[in-house]
């Protein structure tokens, strides 16, 4: 064969060459990850279409229910109850599913970014090109992270609209752990954090499939731990004494009784309440009442028990986060997740730079 020769290399000073422009790097990122981004678009697009269609019918049904007049009539109350039973459980299921989406994005978009290069050996090619590996990593991670976070943020706007009727009817509280992460700025932050966790895990594990699994587990663990343990401590909970019922929209964390300043254990309290309740019921329910109608005596009996306890040195305490803290909590959660994501991405870039192969 005849070998073409390369033209003489101009004697240019290496230092005069400028770094590879970001615009060129953006093309590479787009070319290599467009299918992953297409997957994200299809996932969010499909879910958005569903939310829009079923949300429209739900909004319509709710509008019909509350248009009923007079609102206090039995028929109208019944319409609202029917609305809740028709939509409540479906919406809860959708909400649970949506909590998993940031984890999926972390696992299937974040984890393969570096793990695939390391697994197939192509990092040896990319990391020895003129761009330099840190710049290459930044050019991959930052645009992808921003894109998935923005997609998550836009999607949560749609979800907030979708969920409106269930807040309006008073059956949902904004700080509900199953719901909090889907609205406000939290969803974008969770999507971002999922991606950042995936990218770092991919770099450390170097294989796509194990990295996907570990990312799913890590994202799930973080979401669970935040919802169950961490979030309630963002601000010191408020303490209510002898509340007839928790304030509207409050997220109740715990309740307990004290007598004379000492906490009464749950078991003792149950005994006291049960025996008092039985005494009151025996005294108030007529002998000839039908068993179906006994339930009508239970509410008043409970009030009497409550009154008795409060007049005999007992106090009921409720620890709760008021619903008005929704936005402060959103900013706190969004803030620490953003800080965590920036830290993880920075650590990933730094590790790529010093990784010995």
């Amino acid at each position: 064969m005849t070998a073409l020769t390369i033209p003489a290399r101009p004697e240019e000073d290496d230092a005069s060459l400028r770094p590879v422009p970001w615009r060129q790097l953006a093309w590479v990122t787009w070319r290599q990850h467009r299918f992953a981004l297409g997957g994200v678009a299809m996932l969010f697009g499909g879910l958005a279409l569903y939310l829009w269609l079923s949300g429209s019918s739900m909004h319509h049904a709710y509008a019909t229910a509350i248009a009923c007049h007079p609102a206090s009539s039995y028929a109208c109350q019944n319409q609202v109850i029917n609305f809740d039973s028709a939509y409540g459980s479906t919406v809860q299921a959708i909400a649970t599913l949506l909590l998993a989406v940031p984890m999926l994005i972390g696992a299937f978009v974040g984890a393969p970014v570096l793990a695939r290069e390391l697994e197939t050996g192509t990092f040896r090619y990319a990391w020895t090109l003129g761009v330099g590996r840190r710049r290459w990593t930044v050019a991959k991670l930052v645009p992808l992270a921003v894109t998935v976070a923005v997609a998550g943020g836009l999607f949560s706007l749609l979800f907030s609209w979708y969920y409106e009727p269930l807040f309006a009817d008073g059956n949902s509280i904004p700080l509900d752990p199953a719901l909090f992460g889907l609205r406000g700025v939290a969803y974008a932050a969770w999507t971002l954090a999922g991606f950042a966790i995936g990218a770092l895990v991919g770099l450390l594990i170097r294989r796509v499939v194990p990295a996907v699994a570990v990312t799913l587990a890590a994202c799930f663990g973080l979401t669970f731990a935040t919802g169950v343990y961490l979030r309630q401590h963002y601000l010191a909970p408020l303490l209510g004494r002898n509340l007839a019922s928790p304030p509207a929209g409050a997220w109740v964390l715990s309740g307990w009784w004290t007598k004379g300043g000492a906490t009464v254990s749950r078991a003792v309290m149950n005994q006291v309440e049960t025996s008092l309740f039985q005494r009151v019921m025996t005294a108030t329910v007529p002998k000839n009442v039908k068993s179906d109608n006994i339930k009508f005596y239970k509410g008043p009996a409970n009030s009497q028990v409550m009154n008795y306890l409060l007049h005999h040195g007992y106090a009921q305490w409720t620890s709760y986060q008021p619903g008005s803290r929704f936005w402060p909590f959103q900013w706190i959660e969004g803030g620490w997740l953003l800080a965590l994501s920036v830290l993880l991405i920075a650590a990933t870039v730094w590790l790529v730079g010093r990784r010995a192969v």
């Binding site: 390369i6 003129g130 330099g132």
Partner: protein, 239 residues
């Protein structure tokens, strides 16, 4: 490329130790030795993929591997020529151009046309010989001063092997590109190498210009020299 006291440890195993070398520019250097001798480790250190555990290594006249100037001046074709298998050849070209500061697109296209490699075909669908040629074309289009090839022809059939080495030689002789290539197959290096580095069990056993070495040890060709040397000096003590 210069190395002094260079060593690389993975865990508790030394892949390379006490490596001191000074390979002058302008040579086609063959890095030979049995499997596991530390050839890939030395090349990874030279291109900046790995960092030394001990000692130091510089390339292109005193530059640190992995520094921007070194990255610009060195083109590396890794073992098994890892291309992005799902990208078309045209996209590989475009990707490389976008990730380098200097890339001769016209030259690369002309060479691929000459080789009859379809630009729209996915890299993973090409034959082994074509993949190696694509990798080499991309490397040469970067107009490097040093071309580093790790086991470039191990997977190729004899014809592809011949064509590949012909291209490397042409680049070396016509354009003054220095070449550093590793191989455990000695026969293919016979015609091309002007400088030899012999590695075994992580240590440099022999280094020098091929003509000098052949003369000094009275061997007819590289293969005999290497075999002779590895057998006679199993401990690696210099004569």
């Amino acid at each position: 490329m210069e190395a002094s006291g260079l060593g690389k440890r993975y865990g508790s195993t030394w892949a390379l130790r006490e490596c001191t070398l000074a390979i002058p520019a302008g040579h086609v250097t063959a890095l030979v030795g049995p499997n596991g001798a530390g050839k890939s480790t030395l090349l990874n250190l030279a291109v900046g993929l790995a960092a030394p555990s001990t000692g130091e290594v510089t390339v292109l006249g005193g530059r640190l591997p992995g520094s921007p100037a070194a990255l610009d001046g060195i083109a590396f074709v890794a073992q098994d020529t890892p291309l992005y298998k799902t990208l078309s050849v045209a996209d590989m070209l475009h990707l490389t151009r976008n990730l380098t500061r200097r890339f001769d697109q016209a030259h690369a296209q002309a060479r691929l046309a000459e080789l009859d490699i379809p630009l729209q075909r996915k890299a993973g669908k090409l034959s082994g010989g074509q993949q190696a040629q694509v990798a080499l074309t991309l490397a040469l289009a970067r107009r490097p001063r040093l071309l580093v090839l790790d086991e470039p022809v191990a997977m190729l059939d004899p014809i592809a092997r011949h064509d590949f080495m012909a291209t490397v030689l042409a680049a070396a002789s016509a354009d003054g590109v220095s070449v550093l290539l590793s191989s455990h197959v000695l026969t293919e290096l016979e015609r091309v190498a002007s400088y030899l580095v012999l590695l075994a069990r992580g240590r440099v056993r022999l280094a020098g210009e091929v003509g000098d070495l052949l003369g000094r040890y009275g061997q007819a060709n590289l293969e005999e020299l290497a075999l002779h040397y590895l057998r006679d000096n199993p401990t690696g003590v210099a004569p």
